[in-house]
Symmetry: C2
Subunit: 323 residues, 2 copies
């Protein structure tokens, strides 16, 4: 399992390479919801998302032999960039299997950061199978994007910073909203935050079409959603929660909520207009939950995760022009 | 004159209403310029620019009698929003004279924040004359946007935060770039920063067509540029430096640099793509100077001001789509 000591150790490891992203407050947002909201701006993180925290924590712990063989990952784009960047920093070759319809910015950046990309069709291929096959052929490690204790511990360092920054700001978070795909960020942050603020309610926020964690929390076991469903949140599309992550989330979460694509678009517009932040669809799910009133905000102190900002200019513009 | 004690007093006054905006660093930017760059993100400030700092500092010091009569301001948009917001917080009526071609977002927000707007033609009318006439008729105060000691002291609180945040980050800024219009933010920040970091070189950054501070520093007296020139930086268009501000800047600045509209556009694109920040043209001048190599960055620690983020979605999109 993963515990707070693992996250503290991960924090030491990633300290030299990650940005301590700010915890941002906005009077406009506070007034609108009638409570206090703090946004953890992981869209401002190196590579444009929190994923570098987990990828670097894992890659930096490979043996020399493992490192020499290179690694393979599969990712819709943010983990891809993170693995490529961490690989380049550590001198490890990286190959990343990505859906061919991933945002251009994510594919381009993965290449620029030094990764080799292998594209597949999201609706007909299975990225995990492709990646595992390649790894078997090469005899090298697969870097999972969430269901691994080093990834969870690394991603949990964002939660550790939330704790420190809440202390610095003199506030006690009553609820924390985390954008949830496979559940690594949610699990890591849940461990870090509940360790210091045991009374904080931690919620996973998912796209409506990929509410596997919500369904799984309801039934108590890992439920499956239709993976060929469509959502604007390209970063939050998994069919089922991770094994390790769900084990942690089942124990630590207060609940889960889902948001519609339109609510996500509205959050991206709000972030542009009022927060002056660029957020990608998957990165805006928690803000969408805040703005749509899905979670009660009034008179409460809420932390919401903005997990990424890698969005193509064309999509961003088209979202801004529709109101 | 204005001194560090005035800025400290202003900081106490504005503390309850302003956001302590983050000092942001970006590994991509650092690697690109070969030095360390810290961005003071005043685009994340309440009302989307630093202007609230000066406006609130002045309005909160009006006598009850002055406050009861309301105030008048003239502004291209950021000071307008700031005066409107400060007025609403303090229960003071505000009327703001704005150019009719100001960004829609600035005019709309000024109204939403509780200000009454009076529009004029930037190329034929003189906003100061219009404002002073109205003030004389109503017997009320004009809130200048830079050339007033309360405004300068208030705007200098951004510089005070830069000092604190550099100390917290354990860095000594060697040069500080401030976007410059009338020179209030530049003067206030110069006082605050030079008081703690006397060796830091402080530079005013202006649009090429409005390089009045650069010309004035060269000649030693307040020079005039053609006010009907065009620049994408709607927030940085003044014909000549303020009297009080130039007096301070003449004494404290290491120099000034100017940037072209294309360099500003490139900075806005870079901020979207790599920093995930929304910056308006006038707010991006310093970043443009950083990226264009106008100021030497290599092996240096530089702080650059991002002074505002109020840009219309249409202009933002059109800048993103041209490379």
């Amino acid at each position: 399992m993963v515990d707070i000591a693992d996250i503290r150790a991960a924090a030491e490891r990633v300290l030299p390479v990650v940005v301590r992203t700010p915890l941002i407050s906005s009077p406009v947002l506070d007034e609108m919801v009638g409570g206090r909201v703090f946004l953890k701006a992981e869209n401002l993180q190196r590579t444009g998302s929190f994923k570098i925290r987990g990828a670097y924590n894992l890659l930096s712990q490979l043996t020399q032999e493992q490192a020499a063989r290179g690694v393979i990952a599969f990712s819709s784009g943010n983990h891809a960039q993170a693995v490529a960047a961490a690989g380049t920093m550590l001198g490890i070759d990286t190959t990343i299997v990505m859906p061919e319809d991933a945002p251009q910015i994510k594919i381009e950046n993965t290449r620029k950061l030094g990764g080799t990309t292998v594209l597949y069709d999201r609706y007909t291929g299975d990225r995990e199978t492709i990646a595992r096959q390649m790894a078997a052929e090469r005899g090298c490690e697969v870097v999972p994007s969430y269901d691994h204790r080093h990834i969870i511990a690394g991603q949990g360092t964002a939660g550790l910073e939330i704790v420190e920054q809440c202390r610095e700001a003199g506030v006690t978070p009553e609820q924390v909203l985390i954008n949830c795909s496979g559940g690594g960020l949610t699990a890591g942050c849940a461990i870090a935050i509940s360790s210091d603020f045991p009374d904080a309610g931690i919620y996973a926020i998912e796209p409506e079409a990929f509410d596997d964690t919500r369904r799984s929390l309801d039934s108590g076991k890992r439920e499956q959603v239709n993976v060929s469903a469509h959502s604007i949140c390209d970063a939050l599309q998994v069919a089922t929660p991770g094994e390790i992550t769900f084990d942690i989330n089942k124990r630590l979460l207060a609940g889960a909520e889902s948001v519609t694509d339109d609510e996500v678009r509205e959050a991206i517009r709000f972030a542009f207009r009022h927060l002056k932040l660029v957020v990608e669809p998957g990165g805006a799910a928690s803000l969408a939950a805040v703005l749509s009133g899905k979670i009660e905000m009034r008179d409460r102190v809420t932390v919401a995760m903005m997990s990424g900002g890698n969005i193509d200019a064309e999509l961003f513009s088209s979202i801004q022009s529709t109101t």
